[in-house]
């Protein structure tokens, strides 16, 4: 069974139709890269998966649970789908370690010592063990985003959602975040990534989806699609991002 399944999913903001009857199945282990012009619905599509946006039509099943169920069921989905934001959104009053240990403690109910021991391992994994006791404002953007990735992983999700994770970063800081993401993909993590990093899409993505006007207009193998764009619009888009 697919881990994420959009079934004629629509999303309206008032009169504005942002997702238009999207059908999409994502299997475990896939690295799906979502691209498209601004306003095409790619971020909304991502945010519907963990219910940060409520769908207004059709259905959306994540790990066997419909996002429409809401409440406790929606919280179960959210525990299975970690999210990384463009603006990092680290908790500013907590150290890097406390940020990462927060989810396990408050969501999974782990004791402080155990949660912090796990958090330290995860910080080590993203290369920030020495920065564990720094608050976010004392970290660079790239470091903050790596802490944010560790924080999302700490809840032990089955899927990771990335919403333009490198868009707020200076070019030289993007790489450290992309490296962590690449490593994650190699470990077999299922990932859905909204990004403009075409090299990441080509090298790491197993699937590339191009969105336009709330619909999926191209869905295929990243290398093939990028080398040989099947539509004029995609060709045009690729020229602008690269």
């Amino acid at each position: 069974m697919s881990i994420i399944e959009f079934r004629k999913t629509s999303k309206h903001f008032g009169d504005l139709k942002v997702l238009d009857q999207v059908d999409l199945s994502i299997e475990q282990g896939e690295v799906v890269v979502l691209i498209g012009p601004s306003g095409s619905g790619k971020s909304t599509l991502l945010r519907c998966i963990n219910g940060l946006e409520q769908i207004t039509g059709g259905d959306l099943i994540v790990d066997g649970i419909s996002v429409r169920e809401g409440g406790r069921q929606l919280r179960r989905i959210r525990q299975e789908a970690g999210m990384v934001f463009q603006q990092f959104n680290l908790f500013p009053q907590m150290t890097a370690l406390q940020n990462v240990a927060f989810g396990p403690r408050k969501v999974r109910g782990l004791g402080r010592a155990e949660a912090e021991a796990q958090a330290l391992e995860l910080l080590d994994k993203v290369g920030l063990k020495e920065r564990a006791h720094h608050v976010p404002s004392a970290l660079s953007g790239g470091q903050q985003q790596r802490v944010a990735i560790a924080r999302a992983l700490a809840v032990r999700p089955k899927v990771m959602l990335f919403d333009e994770p490198t868009s707020a970063l200076d070019p030289e800081l993007k790489q450290e975040v992309l490296t962590v993401m690449r490593q994650l993909a190699q470990e077999g993590m299922t990932m859905v990534v909204v990004t403009h990093e075409m090299s990441f899409a080509r090298q790491v993505g197993t699937r590339l989806i191009f969105m336009e006007h709330g619909k999926i207009s191209v869905d295929g193998n990243p290398v093939e699609v990028i080398t040989n764009p099947p539509s004029e619009r995609l060709k045009d888009f690729l020229q602008h991002v690269e």
Binding site: N50, L52, R75, R76, I77, R78, Q79, A81, G82, M83, F85, Q87, N89, L90, F91, P92, Q93, F102, G103, K106, V107, S137, A148, R151, A152, V155
Partner: protein, 218 residues
């Protein structure tokens, strides 16, 4: 009439007793007002349509009427309407609770809503229920932003207790008035009263400064 400061020390015990009543009203009123304000503020910020509307009406009713009218209503009109008589002290404390509560509600609402939405989303995205996000993430951040305007409101409310002279509570201003009525030492007595208010508000300011310094605004 010449000014004679030597009359002041003789009245100090009486003024101190008045100051104690002032402090009691302010303290009890502000504890209640802060609790009420927190509830009403959270209702405004996160309540559904009904809770939001209730809090809105309460806040606008109180902000739109003078505190003197409010305390007169509590002391003179409420007994007529409900048959329940309250003593002046209770009416005074209730007036501060209800009045400060409305202003504090707006302070609370502002502080909570000023915390970036992304932090709430980050908490929700982990699978936390909304109340836990408020309690563990947004609340502690909002609290830091709450302190300066809350301190301001505490000082305003403390001074507002002087208006309860109208229902005959023996607080500091009324005590000053009574002493005045017996010896007509206006300059000496009102200066002493003003200085005592300054000492009270000054202490409050110092405490707030201390709390602020110990906590970084994030």
């Amino acid at each position: 009439m010449e000014i004679d400061w030597s009359v002041v020390p003789g009245f100090l015990p009486q003024l101190a007793a008045g100051a104690r009543v002032t402090i009691l009203i302010a303290l009890a009123g502000l504890v209640g007002g802060t609790i009420l304000g927190l509830i009403a503020g959270l209702m405004r910020a996160y309540g559904g349509r009904v809770l939001n509307a209730i809090a809105f009406v309460y806040i606008e009713l109180i902000r739109g009427t003078p505190i003197v009218v409010q305390v007169m209503f509590l002391y003179f009109a409420m007994p007529v309407l409900t048959g329940l008589r309250v003593d002046p002290m209770t009416a005074a404390i209730l007036a501060i609770v209800v009045n400060a509560g409305a202003y504090i509600a707006e302070i609370v609402r502002g502080a909570f809503l000023s915390i970036p939405r992304g932090l709430t989303e980050a908490g929700l995205a982990m699978g936390l229920p909304h109340w836990k996000v408020l309690a563990h993430i947004v609340g502690p951040l909002a609290f830091r932003r709450l302190i300066p305007p809350l301190g301001n409101q505490f000082i305003v409310s403390l001074k507002d207790t002087s208006l309860f002279i109208v229902i005959g509570v023996g607080e500091l201003t009324r005590t000053g008035q009574e002493i005045m009525a017996s010896n007509f030492r206006a300059v000496e007595i009102w200066t002493a009263v003003a200085v005592i208010y300054l000492i009270m508000t000054g202490t409050l300011t110092a405490i707030l400064r201390l709390i602020e310094n110990r906590m970084r605004i994030l």
